[in-house]
Symmetry: C2
Subunit: 329 residues, 2 copies
């Protein structure tokens, strides 16, 4: 394992400290595990909390700030945070208007966030949750019953976070978050694995000319393996599955070409070049496109494509101001 770290057991703590120290005016860290909250508490509005295992940077701590999240809870790499940590996050950000949890669909995350919600509710805090399950590659998977929550989750952060900033009620923010989660579809592929620091070995191996199609953000198996194809052919394969049965007529979409962490921007832009051409050819109108590392898998080499079907409210919230380390509008 060749990494720029100090100690495999300290990566989460030192990384979160490094994130907070880069943004001392925006972020602070609670003293109860790796919970990042806004430096200035948002008052009188619904609060948003998200999180999950570490290793997906900038998700989720990088999305804490004006117009997006109020708190992000980071577990060990690829491991759910504990209910206690999440509970501390909820308590820290609740301003009396309730808290919305945005949870990626993994069994451990869903369970621990739900337990934390129950603990908070017992103290009189209103908590709702939205579970993202945008990965159309596979139904059920390692770590997950049902479809996995992956990069499309970031759209939920942005849109629901902007809605909360308007002063909307918990039920209104929750409704929009669920509507957004229901309208985003994602699928990815990888050409090289990543290594969890504490494991010291790559999570899987691929032949020198092989790729994993439909891979999860922890390196979980996807639909199949096949020989590496040109970027355009990979993009077409993913788009075909994403767009199958997706009724987009009359709606614009947002596109996210998300890097897995070790893939250079050069390759993501090459993918986007063809994705845009394919969508245009199909008569699908693109409202906004985002290209970069939004929900990574440490240094995995690969990418995912997310397509979000937009309505007018989602568009307005997507374009609303945001000031976080990883997303600014």
């Amino acid at each position: 394992m060749k990494k720029i770290i100090n100690d495999a057991n300290l990566v989460e703590e030192q990384m979160i400290q490094g994130l907070v120290k880069a943004n001392p005016d925006k972020l602070k860290k609670l003293n109860c595990g790796n919970v990042v909250i806004r430096a200035k508490k948002k008052e009188g509005k619904v609060a948003l909390i998200s999180g999950g295992g570490s290793g997906h940077e900038p998700a989720h701590g990088g999305y804490v700030g004006t117009g997006m999240l109020d708190a992000a809870v980071a577990g060990p790499v690829f491991t759910s945070p504990t209910p206690d940590q999440i509970y501390e996050g909820i308590k820290a950000v609740d301003a009396g208007m309730g808290v919305l949890m945005v949870v990626k669909n993994y069994t451990g995350d869903v369970m621990n966030f739900e337990m934390a919600a129950e603990m908070a509710q017992m103290e009189g805090i209103s908590v709702e949750s939205v579970v993202t399950n945008d990965d159309v590659a596979v139904e059920d998977s390692l770590y997950t019953v049902g479809q996995r929550g992956v990069a499309g989750t970031v759209f939920v952060h942005k849109i629901a976070g902007a809605k909360a900033e308007t002063g909307a009620s918990l039920s209104q923010v929750c409704e929009l978050a669920r509507r957004t989660a229901a309208q985003v579809r994602t699928m990815g592929a990888a050409i090289a694995p990543c290594t969890v620091p504490a494991a010291g070995q790559p999570g899987f191996s691929l032949g020198s000319d092989e790729m994993e199609v439909g891979i999860g953000i922890h390196g979980e198996p996807g639909t199949h393996r096949e020989g590496l194809k040109p970027a355009d052919a990979i993009a077409e394969e993913l788009l075909e599955k994403i767009l199958a049965g997706f009724e987009l007529e009359g709606n614009d979409v947002a596109v996210l070409i998300n890097g897995a962490g070790g893939t250079p921007l050069m390759e993501l832009y090459i993918v986007n070049n063809h994705v845009q051409d394919v969508l245009k050819e199909k008569g699908i109108s693109v409202y906004r496109t985002y290209v970069g590392n939004y929900m990574t898998s440490i240094e995995m080499q690969g990418f995912s494509i997310s397509i979000l079907k937009l309505d007018d409210e989602m568009k307005a919230m997507l374009d609303a101001p945001a000031d976080t380390p990883a997303w600014k509008e």
Copy 2:
């Protein structure tokens, strides 16, 4: 070579198209090689142009937009653009107030930008240039006489770009750009090489426990090779050379922890965690910190640290609005 591309000969063209298609409201591409300009020309103000070989994404096309560059010219990967391309870029963005070229110190870049400037000057366009040479690792190098221009160049884009946006004259913008370039120092290290698509092989090789200290952004040799050390020790080694003789008393600094392209954000934040501690211990006051992939080397694994000594004008320009694909304020 395992890459998500279509054809090694098409990477530059398809990448630039993908960048422009992701930002159709902000960018357009000239039909004379890979020259990216603002979709809406900035009128009545000094224009900024930069560029160089491709492979450093998001530099430089990702910095075209309000508050930063007016044009970016991309040559083949790690190869200077031709004078003709640069000349077309200069002509496209000049609005009668003159053009400032921001050129990283590589012999080919400096020569070709200078030739382009002469061509433009013969047509009556005022052109000035600033050559960045922030890499303190080595004096003279492969491709370069004198110190190399590396990640610190992005600070020059931001600060000079903001100054141009105020309506300042060419000499004023040029003076600030040169002042900024003179006050930024950078040094990097890498633990894994990158592969130029057209070459098909990594540019260098490193042992499984080896790193290159002082590496250039094309993988050029640095000061030496040594065994891989903990992140904190690497950061200290780089900082020691960067800070040697750098008179910072009474000045705040900006810090850039720049990823080489294949290094996960996790590792960059771990580096930042210690960089901030070391600077604090030395009594150096940090005004702003940036962590991410700003000036990459395709998928190289490594990072650089840049320290910019700030004055009040630089601070104001650093914080001025910017709306580009890769830097927003």
